[in-house]
């Protein structure tokens, strides 16, 4: 399945776009998405942590994803 992934903050720079499509196996999980993204965008892994939200709720690593889910990558921000 193809998951539409929205980028926030520095993730926009890392992806070079404000949204990307990621191909995942059926019944893929948040962990699968993380691995796929970090493989393609190593800088994401270097952040040490970033939040994945699915349909505007925090998603834990084991959560299953579905084609129509709205997925957002929300990296930390430190400015003040």
């Amino acid at each position: 399945m193809n998951i539409n992934v929205l980028a926030f903050g520095i993730a926009k720079d890392i992806f070079g776009a404000s949204a990307i499509e990621v191909e995942l196996p059926e019944a893929g999980t948040v962990t699968d998405l993380r691995s796929k993204l970090e493989e393609k965008y190593p800088r994401l892994k270097q952040l040490a942590s970033y939040m994945i939200a699915v349909n505007d709720a925090y998603a834990a690593d084991g959560d299953a994803l579905q084609q129509q889910d709205e997925v957002a990558i929300i990296p930390p921000v430190s400015g003040g």
């Binding site: 926030f8 903050g9 520095i10 800088r43 270097q46 952040l47 040490a48 942590s49 970033y50 939040m51 939200a53 505007d56 709720a57 925090y58 957002a72 929300i74 990296p75 930390p76 921000v77 430190s78 400015g79 003040g80």
Partner: protein, 352 residues
């Protein structure tokens, strides 16, 4: 109505508000940590609304580059302590409240004592080290923390560590971001920030403070608000009801040896030092002050400059990556004399 409440007529008139709500605000003790882009507007509105005891903690002085978004300060005040200037102005804005300046860098040694004087903390800091320190200290002290952060056009707001009716506490920063490699996330000095976003987010933080104290509305507890100033679309991410983290000690504040622009100038004119630029190639190409160029990522592999017996001065755009570089090198070579240029190229161009 008492004469001293006239100032507040237009908020006491709010549905759900009363003179008793104003009394709650008057009795509240709020600490704003960081009198910068977020702290300035937040403190302005907290003072205006009548928070009875308002502490402002900041060790830094006003610099020219602050003025585009830190609206409490004027060019005449460049070089003065932010906490002192802010408290003086806010006291004039509202003589009926108590303002307490804290000219200090919050550290693992002083934060818990400082928190004892306050009911609630507003995070106006601009770096991950202090954000984690505040978060962990508020968790240990059982006090709520109104968090805000900005970068370029993106802002975040949340209220961490609110005690729930069942005795549990709402999520905190480590539930969302367990840890961060801060050298990988640019700050406002490097990536820029739109001043109006600082104003919005600071006002939203002050708004959560007032809501918390007066028990009005739905707090951003267990939630994270994301604001995009480019489109003005925002969304509220649900984080769950209670924290899943367990915090039992504070992260120890690491002291990074730094030199100010003036100290570096003097050093260069006398015994000299080895300059190392840890920025990326594009930044190097735009402007530099000489010395070696070793991007932070390559630092530990390409540390030939360590062979010199002169002091080593590392620089970047804002002092953030150079501070990180000093920490890493000091771990490997604790006896070496290594400094970070305070304020980086930004401070250099303002002061040279």
């Amino acid at each position: 109505m008492q004469n001293n409440l006239l100032r507040y007529t237009c908020q006491i008139a709010l549905p759900g508000f009363s003179e008793a709500s104003q009394q709650q605000l008057q009795e509240a003790r709020v600490l704003v940590v960081g009198a910068g882009g977020l702290g300035c507007p937040a403190a302005q509105y907290l003072a205006a609304a009548g928070i009875g005891t308002l502490g402002i903690a900041d060790f830094d002085v006003v610099s020219v580059g602050n003025l585009h978004r830190q609206v409490l300060f004027t060019p005449e005040e460049v070089g003065q302590h932010k906490a002192l200037v802010a408290c003086e102005k806010l006291q004039r804005q509202n003589p009926g409240i108590k303002l307490v300046p804290h000219v200090l860098k919050v550290t693992s040694d002083n934060i818990l004592a400082l928190l004892q004087e306050y009911d609630l903390v507003l995070d106006g800091t601009d770096n991950f080290d202090t954000k984690y320190l505040l978060n962990d200290a508020c968790v240990l002290a059982g006090k709520p923390l109104v968090y805000g952060a900005i970068y370029q056009f993106d802002g975040q707001v949340a209220v961490w560590n609110v005690r729930q009716p069942d005795g549990s506490f709402s999520p905190n920063y480590r539930d969302v971001y367990p840890m961060v490699d801060d050298s990988q996330v640019p700050n406002c000095a490097e990536g820029g920030v739109i001043p109006t976003l600082a104003g919005m987010i600071g006002c939203m933080q002050a708004n959560e403070v007032i809501k918390f104290i007066t028990k009005t509305g739905d707090l951003l507890a267990g939630k994270l608000l994301l604001v995009d100033a480019l489109s003005m679309q925002s969304r509220v991410i649900k984080l769950g009801k209670a924290t899943k983290t367990s915090i039992s000690a504070l992260p120890q504040t690491e002291e990074v040896p730094t030199l100010s622009v003036q100290e570096v100038k003097q050093q260069l004119e006398t015994e000299g030092c080895v300059l190392v630029d840890v920025r990326n190639q594009a930044e190097r190409d735009t402007y530099h002050i000489g010395g070696e160029h070793v991007p932070l990522e390559a630092l530990t592999e390409e540390a030939a400059f360590l062979a010199s017996d002169k002091p080593i001065l590392i620089y970047c755009a804002s002092g953030k990556r150079s501070g990180e570089a000093v920490k890493r090198l000091k771990k490997m070579f604790p006896e070496k004399e290594i400094y970070s240029l305070e304020g980086g190229m930004k401070a250099w161009r303002e002061q040279v």
